[in-house]
């Protein structure tokens, strides 16, 4: 396999979940790049979240205006989908699979461990703003359960011990800087 670089998506190398800083021009440029596509709202929302890390509520009027929809319509779409968030996430997003195949391999105990270890519940971010925890319902890795996703990588045959090592690796680079 030889992969060429992904085109189109502006990526911020410094942080895995986007840049967090945003201004209206960023939104306008994404919208004008994509709005000609039929059914462009989801691609636009994805592009914004990939770049900025979340969909700022103040972006909604800009999107609505460009697509000639009401703010309520745009907001309704954002709130319908679990993937979209309207507040900034931590430096990393950790998703724990809650679905059946993972349950069958100790997924519930793993969920418990992760919440305790990070001292947060789902949809929350750790106090040091390192990790946002989200549930997910199947990552398609069901024969090597349980699984979690950290940003864009999936980790199978997860155990509490492996999880602790993984979170240490995730946070060391930042700790060293402090």
């Amino acid at each position: 396999m030889h992969m060429s670089a992904q085109s189109g998506q502006p990526l911020n190398p410094g942080s895995s979940t986007g840049s967090m800083e945003w201004n209206p021009d960023m939104i306008r440029s994404i919208v004008s790049d994509l709005k000609a596509k039929p059914g462009s709202l989801l691609p636009i929302l994805h592009a914004i979240q990939d770049w900025i890390g979340f969909i700022p509520p103040d972006a909604v009027p800009l999107i609505a205006e460009a697509l000639q929809q009401t703010r309520a319509e745009v907001h309704g779409v954002i709130s319908f989908y679990h993937h979209f968030r309207t507040t900034p996430p931590g430096s990393h997003v950790v998703q724990v699979c809650r679905a059946e195949a993972c349950q069958a391999m100790g997924g519930r105990a793993l969920e418990q461990h992760v919440r305790q270890r990070l001292a947060v519940d789902y949809h929350q971010t750790t106090a040091d703003r390192e990790i946002t925890l989200e549930p997910v319902y199947c990552l398609g890795n069901c024969a090597c359960a349980p699984s979690i996703r950290v940003d864009d990588s999936i980790h199978g045959r997860m155990t509490p011990e492996k999880f602790d090592r993984l979170t240490e690796q995730l946070t060391t680079s930042t700790l060293e800087l402090k």
């Binding site: 396999m1 030889h2 992969m3 060429s4 992904q6 039929p38 059914g39 462009s40 709202l41 989801l42 691609p43 929302l45 994805h46 309704g76 779409v77 319908f80 989908y81 679990h82 993937h83 979209f84 679905a99 059946e100 195949a101 993972c102 349950q103 069958a104 391999m105 519930r108 997910v136 319902y137 199947c138 990552l139 398609g140 890795n141 069901c142 024969a143 090597c144 359960a145 699984s147 996703r149 864009d152 990588s153 999936i154 980790h155 199978g156 045959r157």
Partner: protein
């Protein structure tokens, strides 16, 4: 001669360190001055052996697995670069592995063998033969070939694919029509769609292009769940390469006809796997289920005639066009023709993809292929076909895998995912989860589903806490019936199935 070393690049292999394994092998080979080339192939679907490393040093593809990064040094010392036996992880020639040898791979004939993004590899293994043939056929001839194959939709509802195509074909041709691939693969236990997209993406592209030629659609969309980042990259790259090679675009395979293809990402909503919710989502809206009729085949995406098919349905089409519908229909039994890709998952020793003609018993899959549970404890329950399907107790494991036999016991084959639980499972908790899942994923359009599932969780909690047990069990039964009868789609309409199966087959667990 350069030794070829294959390290898979699908999500499962990557989730267990395949990138690092590939890197370490290259490093060690460089240190030893070995003449090797590392190829990132797809997975063969023998998931319990991932990462599965194969070495071709001139004597076929000798495999080792599961190879995690910390195993590499020991393996190289034991002669991995020469394909030597002796190490515990040595598996011999992979093509002779009984798990593979006993399968009938028509759709998955190439996975794991080829480089998923190599057009040349794909063609060398029969790829694009079906499209080349279709390009020279009358559209009706293509539909007829699919009709002969007996192919039924693999996404869950098992609707005959050719009837759907015929409906779209019969709509006037002077209008925009669409092919939409349902790649939302939301069912736990399912990963066959992902394997197609990550390990043989040209097969899906080819199937969609053939569908386009058959019904007169010039635009296709793959609606891909956002949980599949690897599949997204593979598909986008494969589409670009297929376009460059003339298999997509303005003149498909010199047919003089156009077919364009684009990947669109979902956003973490299980209900968007339901075809009308999916179409709403593609249109940029909330994924609210539409009432049917009108059928999507007549009023579909942006109001136009649309074929919506599952990944596996479309992936079966290139074989059918290349080898003929008859060749496909020769497999299977009764009204279930062809092969079913089964996915063994959960608490199972040898989990993976098993493609076989319809008719094999569930038990044979669990035992002969699966080898029992991963934990070594007795099996207690098996859920076939996703979160909306019944939990099957041991007495039902003799059922043959075919649509009618499963329907006869109030179950379903669904998308072919099989999730195994050992005897440590609390089936009351599973029943509760079925309702909870519906509270999270309901689109909210109808009350029995939106509110009923919330009540369902509450009632199950009360039963498990021993509050007014008899009365609450009666209430749960009524609630299940209301949801089955009163829901607009199968989300609310089938969520009761796993719950009812627990009430019937595992009543002691529910009592808590």
């Amino acid at each position: 001669m350069t030794t070829k070393i294959y390290v898979p690049c699908d999500t499962t292999a990557l989730s267990l360190g395949a990138d690092q394994v590939a890197q370490l092998i290259e490093q060690q080979a460089a240190e030893q001055g070995g003449d090797i080339e590392v190829i990132r192939n797809g997975s063969r679907g023998l998931c319990w052996l991932e990462p599965l490393v194969e070495v071709d040093a001139g004597q076929g593809r000798v495999a080792y697995g599961p190879v995690e990064p910390h195993d590499v040094a020991g393996l190289v010392a034991a002669g991995l670069l020469e394909g030597k036996s002796g190490h515990d992880l040595w598996l011999g020639n992979i093509e002779d592995h009984p798990y593979l040898e006993r399968q009938q791979r028509l759709t998955f004939a190439r996975i794991g063998i080829t480089d998923p993004l190599s057009v040349d590899d794909y063609r060398a293994h029969g790829g694009f033969d079906g499209l080349a043939r279709a390009a020279g056929m009358e559209p009706q001839g293509i539909v007829d070939e699919v009709k002969t194959s007996g192919l039924r939709g693999r996404g869950g509802a098992a609707f005959p694919t050719a009837i759907k195509w015929q409906t779209v074909h019969d709509q006037p041709w002077q209008q925009q029509k669409y092919i939409v691939c349902n790649a939302d693969e939301g069912d736990s236990g399912s990963f066959a769609d992902r394997l197609v997209m990550e390990c043989d993406p040209f097969m899906l592209i080819e199937g969609m292009a053939i569908a386009g030629l058959a019904v007169g659609a010039t635009q296709g969309y793959i609606y891909l769940r956002s949980e599949y980042p690897v599949a997204q990259k593979m598909l986008n790259e494969a589409i670009a390469r297929a376009e460059a090679a003339g298999y997509l675009g303005g003149n498909v395979c010199d047919s003089g006809r156009a077919f364009h293809l684009e990947v669109r990402l979902g956003a973490g909503a299980y209900i968007c796997g339901e075809e009308t919710s999916l179409l709403e989502s593609l249109e940029g809206k909330r994924g609210l289920v539409r009432a049917k009729p009108p059928l999507p085949a007549i009023v579909g995406l942006f109001g136009q005639p649309t074929v919506v098919n599952n990944v596996l349905s479309l992936a079966a089409v290139p074989f059918i066009l290349a080898q003929g519908g008859e060749a496909y229909a020769n497999y299977g039994l009764g009204r279930s023709r062809g092969t079913l890709p089964v996915q063994l998952a959960g608490n199972i020793r040898r989990g993976g993809l098993i493609e076989l003609a319809f008719g094999v018993s569930l038990k044979a899959l669990l035992e002969d292929f699966g080898g029992g549970t991963a934990t070594g404890r007795p099996m207690k329950a098996v859920q076939v076909g996703g979160p909306l399907m019944a939990y099957l107790p041991e007495s039902q494991w003799d059922t043959p895998m075919d649509y009618e036999a499963f329907a006869a016991i109030g179950a379903g084959v669904g998308h072919g995912g099989v999730v195994v639980f050992d005897d440590s499972v609390d089936m009351g908790e599973q029943a509760r989860f079925a309702m909870e899942f519906c509270t999270v994923e309901s689109c909210g359009k109808c009350t029995p589903c939106r509110i009923g599932s919330v009540r369902g969780v509450e009632v199950i909690d009360r039963i498990r806490a021993g509050e007014n047990r008899e009365a609450n069990l009666g209430l749960l039964e009524d609630l299940c019936e209301t949801m089955v009868d009163g829901s607009l789609c199968a989300m609310g309409g089938m969520t009761p199935f796993p719950v009812q199966s627990v009430m019937k087959h595992f009543p002691d667990d529910l009592a808590g």
